[in-house]
Amino acid sequence: MIIKDRAIKYGNNVDTDVIIPARYLNTTDEKELASHCFEDLDQDFSKKILEKKVIVGGENFGCGSSREHAPLSIKACGIKAIVASSFARIFYRNSINIGLPVLVNREAASEVADGDELEINLVKGLIKNITLDKNYIIPPLPDFIQEVIAIGGYINYTKKQFARAK
């Protein structure tokens, strides 16, 4: 799976309250959630995603609440992957569980500038910053996580387990 797109760059400790404020959590509708994504952090986000579809964050991306609405709203905006120096653990597992690729690489995340063109090869474990002409290796994800992402999330994975048991 290869993802090629431009980067939207944010800083450290991007929390789930700015990704999707709690005042919008009275729905599970992905499209409605997506329409409020990042609105307290970046009012231009909805314009940026027209031409940039990879988010790059700093340390502790997605800290705070367990709300799965956060990665869901990001995914529903058409974002294809998130690269960060580090992720908060609940956000990280929520993203994997819904099949949204999340990649940890401190060097890549800190060197990316907003608008840089990135090529991410999930199978080879490679992030290429085309604008900077620089490659970054991603440590391979555990087999289980690769399997979950490849099959489209933890629900699909579980359905398959159930089918196998039958």
Partner: protein, 416 residues
Amino acid sequence: MAQKILAAHSDKKCIVQGEIVNASVDLVLGNDITMPLAIEEFKKIETNKIFNRGKVVMVPDHFTPNKDIKSATQCKVMRDFAREQDIINYFEIGQMGIEHVLLPEKGLVLPGYLTIGADSHTCTYGALGAAATGVGSTDVAVAMATGKLWFMVPGTLKFVYKGKLGRWITGKDIVLYTIGMIGVDGALYKSMEFSGSVIEGLSMDSRFAMANMAIEAGGKFGLFEVDEKTISYVESKTDSDYKVFKSDDDAQFDGVYEIDCSGMGLQVAYPHLPSNTKDAADAKDVTIDQVVIGSCTNGRMEDLEMVAKILKGKKTDKRIRTIIIPATQKIYLDAVKRGLIEIFIKAGCVVSTPTCGPCLGGHMGILAEGERAVATTNRNFVGRMGHPKSEVYLAGPAVAAASAITGRISVPEEVI
């Protein structure tokens, strides 16, 4: 300790840090925000029944009593599912409380339990020696279907607290001080273990407040060793069996922090991170518009009693809205019986039925642009209690009560 509990719930005898294990869970929790999404996902798995109707707990506590039509609809999704699945521990309005205060009070989480909840503050139960952690709605959906979940085995950071606590200092101050020291990602992916002579002397309520905020340092678990206080707490709630796990004497830690609590002041975390801590005594220039006392961090009896001690016979500043939210119906009723509610109302506070409400900017005390609140809650991110240009200062009950009287961040000595 976390590794031992995870191993005991997996099919492996020995597990190592970083490994992914599939483990059986003892309890699965969700609320009115996260559970409706989990139910949608559960239905996609094409299984009709949850794995165990006694091991799934549902608490409508965030936007309840229903704040608007959409929230009411979400609550109805959860209520209908609870009835359809005949879930034993669904707590309707009137019986509910803030989930992380309610579950221990009902004796539903016990030492040694592996508990997951679609709420980040599920780590609160670490105070009972339970490996408890926040997960997402999909996790809850899968766990409701299978009784199992994937876990990455965390390393452990040990925190040893020594010295003598000053007057008014509670677990909230200790945990804020700790987060200020290590940062909001200082325990990322780690299990935090709290120990030392200070911890031995702490009340269960203060231990819950500390474990509650492990997540604010990025922690997966916030564990306390089970001692006589834990056992007497647990056995006053239930006669169910439980198992006590202890860290080995030669356990390996990723880091050990020794913290001398002598001379530690009351703490305040400035916006917009729980790690922006200061001594409250140095924060007196901050004027405020609202005080919120409650939440899964500080809505317990110890907190309310401390607030009453400070507010008794006094009036809160007329320019300030002071909102007090006992965390459960039991705590509310006990507070009525002990005369605390009368003290609060005479002081000019409002007292609310249990709800997470203002903590997450849901309802019951939303801030306007430019307003500031002192809150005994757990997060002060941008927009957390309302307008993106409002501010939340986190503190313990003593600072919150004193600040309600003066209208600016204050310590009790200023008003007593």
